[in-house]
Assembly symmetry: C2
Amino acid sequence: MSLLRPCLRNVSRVVTRRAYSTIDENRSYGLKQAVAKVISDPQTEYSNTQELNYLSSSVNTNEDFASLVRLAARQSGQVRFDGAQVGYASRKKPVRVAVTGAAGQISYSLLFRIASGEMLGEDQPVILHLLEQPEALKALEGVVMELEDCAFPLLRGVVQTSDLAEAFKSVKYALLVGAKPRTKGMERGDLLRDNAKIFSAQGKALNDHADKSCLTLVVGNPANTNALIAASNAPDLAPENFSAMTRLDHNRALSQLSAKLSIGVEEIKNMAIFGNHSATQYPDVSQTGLTLDDQWTKATFVPNVQNRGAEIIKFRGSSSAASAADSALKHMHDWALGSEEIVSMAIPSDGSYNVAKGLYVSYPVKCHGQGKYTVVDDWKLNDYAKQKIDLSIKELQDEKKAVGELLKSPIDKRQANKQSASDNKK
Amino acid sequence: MSLLRPCLRNVSRVVTRRAYSTIDENRSYGLKQAVAKVISDPQTEYSNTQELNYLSSSVNTNEDFASLVRLAARQSGQVRFDGAQVGYASRKKPVRVAVTGAAGQISYSLLFRIASGEMLGEDQPVILHLLEQPEALKALEGVVMELEDCAFPLLRGVVQTSDLAEAFKSVKYALLVGAKPRTKGMERGDLLRDNAKIFSAQGKALNDHADKSCLTLVVGNPANTNALIAASNAPDLAPENFSAMTRLDHNRALSQLSAKLSIGVEEIKNMAIFGNHSATQYPDVSQTGLTLDDQWTKATFVPNVQNRGAEIIKFRGSSSAASAADSALKHMHDWALGSEEIVSMAIPSDGSYNVAKGLYVSYPVKCHGQGKYTVVDDWKLNDYAKQKIDLSIKELQDEKKAVGELLKSPIDKRQANKQSASDNKK
């Protein structure tokens, strides 16, 4: 960091005390570097550093102050991308993040953005734990080579494995992306049971190997029931630390409303997805304060959101990947770091809105950071909404029935085999 | 924005004037929102706003100050993701960004990150201009649906087209990603000429329709020669506003060095790629100050960097996409917004390092923002490096010869046809 000193001194000679008010035009390197230094060393005591004296002595007016805040904000983006350039290396301890189905399409859109800092912040180094089937490990190696090739300063390590214990060892975040897709001629019950086996084994492994505060997001479908199964096989982890993703549905709904009303997505508040992440989900607009034609809402908006996934496949020839990855990123970001506004997450029901306790249901949620959230439970829903939500809950109950036995007796053949193998050795 | 007021008032009651020094633990919503407000309204006069008074009155010590700078930096990341939540809508005018080959694999990893603000900053709204072959427009529609589904606050519009004029109309940034790939049994000469036709037409269209300050990055291979062709068909645009991508090679080299020496990528400075973006490129480590075994550098490091693309294909079964997209993002980011450290970019030679003027050659470059850069032209290279670079330059001269006629007479059949069609009408 000694690089900074001469540069700062040079700048001190030419930048007056009012420099901040015109920093937008000046792009002074000295200022930027001083800000970068302060941002990049969050653990250090700054009271007497040259950089901080320099920064603070330059702030005389509110205008200066606003410029500085904006500069810091901009610089932060700069620091993320120019990590290698400005000598930025976060002193935070790396956290371990597991991603399953790591060689798949969603993960291909997801991993690079996690490594760039978009999920947990540009000051949080990560170690990726990537789980794949043995037959996909070679393709995964290619993905990891590409991750290395990006030279992300925040990426501090990668574990590639098809072993559940290794995949979840000490992880603080788990994104369960991989799932068995429905193939032609497959019954829905078979799909549910095949995935139930996968997610019961993963829940068990998370229980035994992950950090006890691990936040687990289920992306793989049927996501809600998979989350239920994983959580019920992880008795030592809090059920609230499991969730299923309905953020993509949430954002799809925002986008549809934005297009219909010609307003920015950021202007739409208090919209949420209720129920199952499936075609029975119910996107509720009753609290948005927007003026919408009821007929349009019922006959166009709701079905459009419910069936958007199938619509994408028609055009792309394959299912949503980049948008699913984007939603997973945002779900985890808000869950870990908090969000100001209401978002949609499928979480264990606390009985709100008359849903049987324990089912994983999408609700309007406020995230407070560090995995804490509260359900927004005081919306007055109309009868139409209630009826639609009941239908979706009914579907979740049917799914639960179909996988009933796996909720109690986790099946993990690999674990069982290992166990008996080590038993034999004794 | 009236939402902010009551919230701020509430917080004012509980947060003391020393709150900033413990903001890391407190995560005060009022502070965060005040910072968000200041960041998100860069055009507004703040001297007398409640938010700014609140912020500035709380800063008494350098410690407060450091906390605030860090808060602003963190909040900036927050704002990007929670745009919809904190009511953030940038007041900057949107800029138009063209991407060719928009339904391809690299673009699929690129577009979502441009729309999220990673390329031009989280305060810069964008309108995407997506160019594809007519037969790929349906698949492109699926990609655009997914972009919409992400509800990016910064994405202000999308143009989908197979018409060059529409694709480049008023764009300030162009990423030429699409190119004809080499197929089995194809001669290198044919590949060069087929792509030369594509890039001469695109250069002509950029000349006629893009913003006069448009920055154009060529990603599609053979990238250097494609850039030369595009630029030479755009007489009204500055040749310096065209470049070809060697940032992926640059980052691959950083990653190889990082792995070899067990040091962070951010610790490696003054490394650069010289020459052509091909297997003849030369990654020079002579200015890094690192202690490296010369034998390893020559026999392992250089060939590893040169042949990394082929190596990835062996594992992935397809060529690098996400890492290429990441490099395009970083190249454009630094070119547009500046970078502190030396990066690699293929730009028109100014004669530095004995390269014939005008060839598009990768050099060590310092970016000053807004498209300005300077070649770092004072490195003392050893004879081995010079010899390797000469080989790469020789290859570029051969490529130039192979496409010679297209450097002067742009071939754009669609434009030519249009012209004769409108001539007929007269």
